[in-house]
Amino acid sequence: MSEIVLESLGKTFGDFTALADMNLTIANGEFMALLGPSGCGKSTTMNMIAGMLRPSCGAIRFNGQDVVDVPMAKRGVGFVFQNYAIFTHMSVRENLAYGLRAQGVPTADIKKRIQAFAELLQLESMLNRRAAGLSVNILQRLAIGRSAILEPAIFLLDEPLSNVDAAFRAVMRSELKSLQGQFGQTMVYVTHDQLEAMTMADRIAVMDHGKLLQVGTPLEIYNNPADTFVAKFIGAPGMNILQGRLSQSADVASVGVPGVGSIPLSPALQSAVRQLTGPEVQVGFRPEQVNVAGAGLTMHVGLVERIGARTIVHLERGETTAKAVLPADVALPKAQSDWTFAVPQEDIRLFDPKSGQALKARTH
């Protein structure tokens, strides 16, 4: 049972604020991803949970107990780093046994657990190999195994897959997910890769410049991003954000994008835009929401990237750029031509032009 609570957590290095006022509760057995670009404060947060860094302010509680003064070794956390720090002079078996020996686990138990974890992580065939000659992929798998075998209640992983190749990354994503499902540890996973966060996490905490911007399930964050940063960071490609202007004709409020066209607003968004003080607004829609059968918006087609099952169409008109993602069974637009499309009303998201915050559609 390990719930992690971060309360008004902050960390400064001299004048530099690495993390400010972080409030986050990670439930027992939850898989939480800390997601953001480099310098967003995700690793700083992780290092404070692990006990490698002391907070400048705020509290960290495990199951209600403040752990700020508890040394790293006594916090009961397992930690896997990007650089896997394997003992290369030892065999795979010795690496797996190392932590258990240090804990004084009986030899018979060590043997049993090594067998079980080697099977789980497909390391059985190389138990007696020296770590020195192993590939990067296998070393990372071993690093995860060496930590997981201690069955820590809290498992912290800092970009563990950033050095392995793409195919292996996909395999490890599902292995990590099933490992966690099996042992039910509380998992905190630091990554800059939104795909890893989306595919593995129960919830994602999106961070930027030392601030927590949004916490939610992958689809909550994808469908209703809290601001334009989150909107653009999640998704591949991210959400299109265009500079728009509100207009009112007869009873219909719509948002126009200069030179591109205009989209009538849903009733919920019509009420949301009343929060704005001027006509300027940022209009967001996901590249895959572009409807090729519709009309209303026209942009110039630049590059057309056909990537297997999907095609990314790069659109521009003056200063405005956008992307559309089309499935393989849709007729592709010609490069260097004008192209007309629609975005369904319900897929439009609006953002405050100054703060970038999402305008919340109030449902009646």
């Binding site: 670009p37 480099s38 190749d165 793409a166 195919a167 996909a170 599902s174 997910k177 099933s178 800059h192 890769d193 939104q194 795909l195 989306m198 595919t199 992958p218 689809l219 994808y222 469908n223 960071f233 999640i234 998704g235 591949a236 490609p237 991210g238 996901r286 590249p287 895959e288 590059l303 990237e305 056909r306 990537i307 297997g308 099952a309 990314i312 790069h314 993602v325 499935p327 393989a328």
Partner: protein
């Protein structure tokens, strides 16, 4: 204006055959990509083009002229390395000027040449900055501009953007494609990222242990791979592969399987999943927003289905699987494709 042609080129390192009877032609002004796993011969082929290695047999031609006795500098091929090797103490402009200054070319020519190249690559706003102040994509542009001022016949790039993070790679590959179209030069490219390869290339050459497996436009290779090998190299998630009888028991529709089929391949986006009592069980759900990837156990095989949007599914729930018309690939015992799906 140069076409590069290999005719039955082989290269040994000791006893190891690194490049095995390779023949291909890179059309003029093409974005041509070599793709394959590590040690498949990609880097050796680049070295052979540059002239850093000599073929043990076969011949390399530039515009029909044999290159056997032409030294690397005389081939005039520019290489952009993975570590871009910019001079950190020089500005972007000084870096770009460097190869011309070093050759003692007169100042007026240098200015004209540099202006032409930097304008084409839209880099006026970064010229005064040192590399440390540039983004990964911008540094890439400086490295390419520096290669471009020499006016080479072709560019070679060996995994030039693999060090960048995922988001930056997506942007930079589009930049690279635009630049290649603007410069109208042959660009020979090596990458290990299938999405990047498909995004940028006019043509791809798929390598397997030093041998050519297939050459063609990326979407042709994706839609009609000539082998299970090529099929599994492209696409994420990868093509589902199953034995013929497993496929028959897992899928609900009648399959049009060719005579002699050993393995059936189905791309994840060509699987249809219906929530009803069927032979499949959902074992994992990956919600990506734009698509949802399901893992489904059926007939002892784990199938990946890539569904559009955010359909509702539950782990452990029974499902029925079927394949879209034209979505079936048949491979024989050697792994060769039996019919164009």
């Amino acid at each position: 204006m140069t076409s590069i042609r290999f005719e039955n080129v082989s290269k040994y390192y000791g006893d190891a055959l690194a490049v095995d009877q390779v023949s291909f032609e890179v059309p003029d002004n093409a974005f041509f990509c070599f793709f394959g796993p590590p040690l498949s011969g990609k880097s050796t082929i680049l070295k052979l083009i540059l002239g850093l290695e000599t073929p043990d047999s076969g011949e390399i031609f530039f515009d029909g002229r044999p290159m056997r006795d032409v030294s690397p500098p005389d081939r005039n091929v520019a290489m952009v390395f993975q570590n871009l090797a910019l001079f950190p103490h020089m500005t972007a402009l000084e870096n770009v000027r460097f190869p011309l200054v070093e050759r003692k070319i007169d100042e007026a020519t240098i200015r004209a040449r540099v202006a032409e190249v930097t304008e084409k690559l839209h880099m006026a706003h970064i010229l005064h900055k040192p590399p440390a102040q540039l983004s990964g994509g911008e540094r890439q542009r400086v490295a390419i501009a520096r290669a471009l001022v020499r006016d080479p016949v072709a560019y070679l790039m060996d995994d030039p953007i693999s060090a960048l993070d995922a988001r930056l790679r997506e942007e930079t590959r589009v930049e690279l494609r635009r630049m290649q179209q603007d410069m109208a030069k042959t660009l020979i490219y090596v990458t290990h990222d299938q999405e990047e390869a498909m995004s940028v290339s006019d043509q791809m050459l798929i390598l397997d242990k030093g041998r050519v497996r297939q050459i063609g436009a990326p979407h042709d290779l994706y839609d009609t791979p000539n082998s299970a090998y090529v099929a599994s190299m492209l696409g994420a998630p990868a093509m589902n592969m199953a034995g013929t009888s497993d496929a028959v028991s897992a899928l609900s529709n009648a399959l049009d399987i060719d005579q002699g089929t050993m393995t059936v391949g189905i791309r994840p986006e060509h699987l249809k999943v219906v929530r009803k009592d069927g032979p499949g069980r959902v074992t994992a759900i990956e919600p990506l927003g734009a698509t949802t990837v399901l893992s489904i156990e059926a007939a002892g095989v784990t199938w990946k289905a890539s569904l559009r949007g955010q359909p509702k599914h539950e782990i452990g729930a029974p499902v029925e699987l079927s394949v879209d018309a034209g979505g079936l690939h048949c491979f024989d015992a050697q792994g060769d494709a039996l019919s164009a799906a």
